[in-house]
């Protein structure tokens, strides 16, 4: 890619007399370059080409081969012109810089989506085998990215087209310990040895070959190694998994980049993977569709043909009925991220979102480009006399034309350079604000710079051509007399632009206000429970269940602890759901219900109000077998009353088979506010409970948590991981996306305001310039300032008003759509938000116009009229 760009650059810039020879030399050196990385080779190639761009080698600008003496003079004049008219060139620059920064930001954000999994060298040969279930009607009820555990090795053994293959099993909730460091880990990947050869995860310690050969070898990522071993080397260290198996560290790799679908902390040999106890399957079960299978195919084979044969052969392992209903398909790894085969485990993105970002970037540049053109026109018009003198002293029309365009290019290019510098300097800030990936940003710098350069030159040329043509058409004598040129079509474009800009500004400001109102509403909403002072201690379920009674006792004696309970959930909506079968209702008619596994005392601790019945009681044998508490929504869904349902027999999935409804609670938000409260069954019989809920009534949290930690270690042993989170913080994380979006919107609103101010500035400036004499004469015949202001303002206010009015449908449409993302939102009084946005924009516009009007006030009629 880089090489191709370099070649185009060479072809365009190099003197055709030398081109063939130089190109040959470069090619020969490129092939002799022994660097392993093709990207480094290509960069060297590019730098060689750039070093060739010098006066003696580049294509002559004037075809007749005479040295162009005017060129340096033009460049010098361009810079002088710009620094002489700082009042005009600075706003021009500012608008373009802001636009370029935004563009670059958006471009990188979009690229980081498009290039997902693109960092693997073999990305074109690597495929994943997907599982596609097809119903008779053509529906695809299950499109899974996973297949049965034998698939990868089966395909490798039976097809010579498959060079390498690896099964990948993502294992969660494992305890890894090294000396006194114990953590619960959720990203362990069991892989085959081929995995390291297929994917590019670079080794920092140890070597790729044989790193996963032994059954008891393990590879860690850099940050994981740091977590366990600090700054010591990881190699040779022995870690323990689930306090059962020991693994020796054979390598440390770089953390997977953010643009990787495979996000692991540990790599283990697949050979050491054991079927978890209680699973009714073996590693030979083709129907256990929970394993990723990656294959590396030979280059230059027909993938479609291979896919067909592979599908047919895999199906021989299934019975006829099953094999008719599934297809095994291949998907290039670079298409996984946007693809339809997804299971919630791997990262996943939406291509439309990325397209949207690019489109936005283009729009911003387009608007800023128009602004630039409009301001540049005013700028050039002010220089008609200089041009006329140049023409009189014998400059060719072409040279004048060239001068104007060059000015524009210099301006645009300078803005681009400034913008690149700014985005480079502030990338850490952007990283914080919008989650920009620094490493990825750096890898895109060259491409970013090349694209930005091309765009900057294009913007410069586009903006320079209109005034250049006008100036060339202008007669010399008219220019010397100071007669201004006016272009009707140019005026129309600029007016339209002001309208568009002001409607966009109004829209964005209205939206920011709406956004804030909704945000405040969400933070202040009564969640139906009391989250204050609640800390969640997450640990390993089995140990917790074995020692809970002792732990409870020990914790209760710590001053500052008010109450203790257990739950399996963290109120983030990640609940399981099972059928809720009421006595006398057929199984098929049962509604699904979410389940919330808690211990006694949990509902009291969270202060969830009861509508009828009672809370579960501690140490009640009856409750631990039968107790089912449901919320009001569940009762409503059954079409009955809270009192009426008490005592009814019920079966909740396979968890409580002999349940009795003992209580009904008021609704509370056990999931984020994006979701409507669903029917939920609160069960005391332990499902998977691994979180201790603690309510504190002290502000000295540090010592209380310290005491809890000590007690837990004493009781459960040091080998159990403990993680504390404040419920408040955990709930805030549910709204992280809104927060990031909030930052983005604020940034955009600043940009929109800046662009519309600049746009209006440009139009008013042009008006003043081309009406100087008119105003001068009016002043002479005694027009007052107020009169002049009204006349001046009347030329613009209608543009602004049209812009404001046009914003209303946008605010209405998008506002409603956005609010509908939330199950609970503020009243949709969109006109109110629109009105505020409109008022703001209008005041802004008046300010700009008023500031420009000062120029008219200061205008001295004698100066402008003396010209004639």
């Amino acid at each position: 890619m880089i090489k191709k760009i370099a070649n185009v650059l060479l072809k365009v810039c190099c003197n055709p007399r030398f081109y063939d020879d130089i190109r040959g030399d470069l090619e020969e050196e490129y092939r002799q370059d022994s660097s392993s990385k093709s990207s480094i080779k290509e960069m060297r190639y590019l730098s060689a080409v750039i070093s060739l761009l010098r006066p003696s080698l580049i294509r002559p600008l004037v075809p007749n081969n005479k040295p162009n003496l005017m060129f340096p003079s033009h460049l010098k004049t361009a810079f002088r012109n710009l620094s002489k008219h700082k009042g005009q060139s600075v706003p021009i620059l500012f608008g373009l810089v802001a636009a370029f920064v935004t563009c670059q930001l958006l471009f990188v954000a979009a690229q980081s989506e498009y290039q997902f999994d693109g960092f693997h060298k073999k990305k074109k040969e690597l495929y994943r085998i997907n599982y596609d279930e097809i119903k008779r009607g053509g529906e695809h009820p299950r499109m899974l990215p996973t297949v049965g555990p034998p698939t990868a090795s089966f395909v490798k053994n039976n097809f010579s087209e498959v060079v390498r293959a690896s099964t990948v099993r993502h294992s969660e909730g494992r305890i890894v310990s090294y000396q006194d460091k114990v953590f619960k880990e959720n990203d362990l990947f069991y892989v085959d040895p081929d995995f390291l050869e297929m994917f590019d995860f670079e080794f920092i310690q140890g070597t790729k070959s044989g790193a996963l050969k032994d059954v008891n070898s393990i590879v860690l990522t850099a940050s994981t190694a740091k977590k366990y071993f600090g700054n010591e080397t990881g190699l040779g260290k022995i870690v323990s998994l689930d306090n059962q198996t020991l693994y020796t560290v054979k390598g440390v790799v770089e953390d997977p980049p953010k643009q990787s679908s495979l996000q692991f902390d540990f790599l283990l040999p697949f050979r050491s993977f054991k079927v978890p106890a209680g699973y009714p399957v073996t590693l030979d079960s083709w129907g256990w569709v929970s394993f990723y299978a990656f294959v590396e195919l030979k280059k230059d084979i027909s993938v479609e043909d291979f896919e067909k044969r592979m599908d047919a052969l895999i199906k021989t392992n299934f019975n006829e009925e099953r094999s008719a209903a599934i297809d095994f398909t291949l998907q290039p790894i670079t298409e996984m991220y946007f693809g339809e085969f997804w299971n919630g485990d791997l990262p996943h993105g939406n291509k439309k979102d990325a397209d949207m970002l690019l489109l936005l970037a283009l729009m911003v540049l387009l608007i800023a480009g128009f602004n630039f053109a409009s301001l540049f026109l005013s700028f050039t018009v002010g220089r008609t006399k200089e041009m006329a003198i140049r023409a009189l002293s014998g400059a060719k029309l072409g040279a004048l034309w060239f001068q104007v365009v060059l000015d524009a290019i210099v301006l645009a290019y300078t803005s681009m350079l400034l913008a690149t510098g700014i985005s480079f300097l502030f990338m850490e800030v952007f990283h914080e604000l919008v989650g920009w990936d620094l490493l990825f940003y750096k890898s895109q710098l060259v491409v970013l710079f090349l694209y930005s350069s091309i765009l900057a030159v294009l913007v410069g040329v586009a903006a320079g051509i209109v005034p250049a043509v006008l100036i060339v058409q202008q007669s010399v004598s008219a220019a010397l007399k100071g007669v201004f040129l006016a272009s009707k079509s140019g005026n129309f474009v600029r007016r339209t632009l002001v309208v568009v800009q002001f409607s966009v500004t109004t829209f964005i400001i209205g939206f920011v206000l709406l956004f804030n109102a909704q945000q405040t509403f969400m933070t202040n909403r009564n969640l139906g429970f009391n989250k204050e002072g609640v800390v969640v201690m997450e640990t390993f379920g089995e140990e917790l269940n074995a020692h809970y009674t002792t732990l409870r006792h020990a914790f209760q004696s710590i001053p500052g602890v008010e109450s203790i309970s257990l739950s399996g959930e963290s109120l983030d909506g990640d609940n399981g759901s099972v059928p809720f079968v009421l006595e006398g209702v057929a199984e098929e008619d049962a509604n699904p219900i979410d389940i919330l596994g808690v211990a006694d005392g949990w509902l009291e601790m969270m202060e969830v109000p009861l509508l009828a019945g009672r809370y579960p009681v501690r140490r009640s044998k009856y409750d631990s077998i039968h107790a089912v508490v449901i919320n009001k929504t569940a009762v409503d869904a059954l079409g009955t009353k809270p009192e009426a349902i008490l005592g009814k027999k019920v079966r909740v999935g396979g968890i409580v088979t002999d349940g009795i409804v003992i209580g009904v609670t008021e609704d509370f938000h056990f999931s984020s506010l994006h979701e409507q409260v669903a029917p939920v069954a609160i069960l005391v019989p332990r499902t998977q409970v691994d979180k201790v809920y603690l309510k504190f009534n002290t502000t000295d949290l540090k010592s209380v948590i310290g005491a809890i930690e000590n007690n837990s270690k004493k009781i459960m042993g040091g080998g159990v991981p403990l993680a504390f989170t404040f419920l408040d913080d955990a709930l805030n994380k549910l709204y992280k996306k809104e927060k990031q979006m909030g930052h983005l919107i604020v940034a955009f609103s600043f940009l929109a305001i800046a662009l519309s101010v600049i746009g209006l500035y440009g139009v008013t400036l042009y008006y003043i310039q081309s009406n100087q004499k008119n105003i001068g004469i009016k002043k002479v015949v005694g027009a007052g300032n107020w009169h002049l202001f009204l006349q001046f303002f009347s030329r613009f206010y209608w543009l602004i008003l049209i812009g404001l009015v046009l914003a209303y449908p946008m605010v209405h449409q998008f506002g409603l759509q956005w609010l509908n993302n939330f199950a609970y939102h503020i009243e949709a009084r969109l006109f109110y938000f629109f009105a505020q946005g409109a008022l703001f924009s209008f005041v802004l516009a008046i300010l700009v116009v008023a500031l420009q009007f000062l120029k008219i006030v200061a205008l001295n009629p004698t100066k402008v009229l003396v010209d004639d």
Partner: protein
């Protein structure tokens, strides 16, 4: 004919004389880098070659195309008599100036 010779040009011209028949872009660059012990940029060298060709120090002829050049022909360079004369003049001038140096500053 022009006869000014820059320092870098002088080095390139000498290299071409050393290489004789086999002097073309890549080989000159390699030989020069070997003798200087550091990298030179393609741009600087190509531009020196073209300038010296314009000044008449060099002659070029087109050679055979090879696959490693992507099928492009080599351009071989050789020094003209004028070029060699200029080289010699420079050399003589230096020798004279060295010998004119007071002996305390020599060696």
């Amino acid at each position: 004919m022009k006869s000014s010779l820059g320092h870098f040009e002088e080095l390139v011209l000498l290299t071409i004389c050393i290489l004789g028949d086999g002097a073309y872009g890549v080989s000159i660059k390699k030989e020069l880098e070997g003798r200087l012990g550091k990298k030179t940029s393609v741009g600087a060298m190509q531009s020196a070659l073209r300038r010296m060709e314009d000044k008449g120090f060099l002659l070029s002829r087109v050679g055979a195309a090879t696959p490693e050049r992507g099928g492009r022909k080599k351009k071989y360079f050789s020094a003209t008599q004028h070029g060699i004369n200029v080289l010699k003049t420079v050399q003589e001038l230096r020798t004279q100036m060295w010998s004119a140096m007071p002996s305390t500053q020599g060696s």
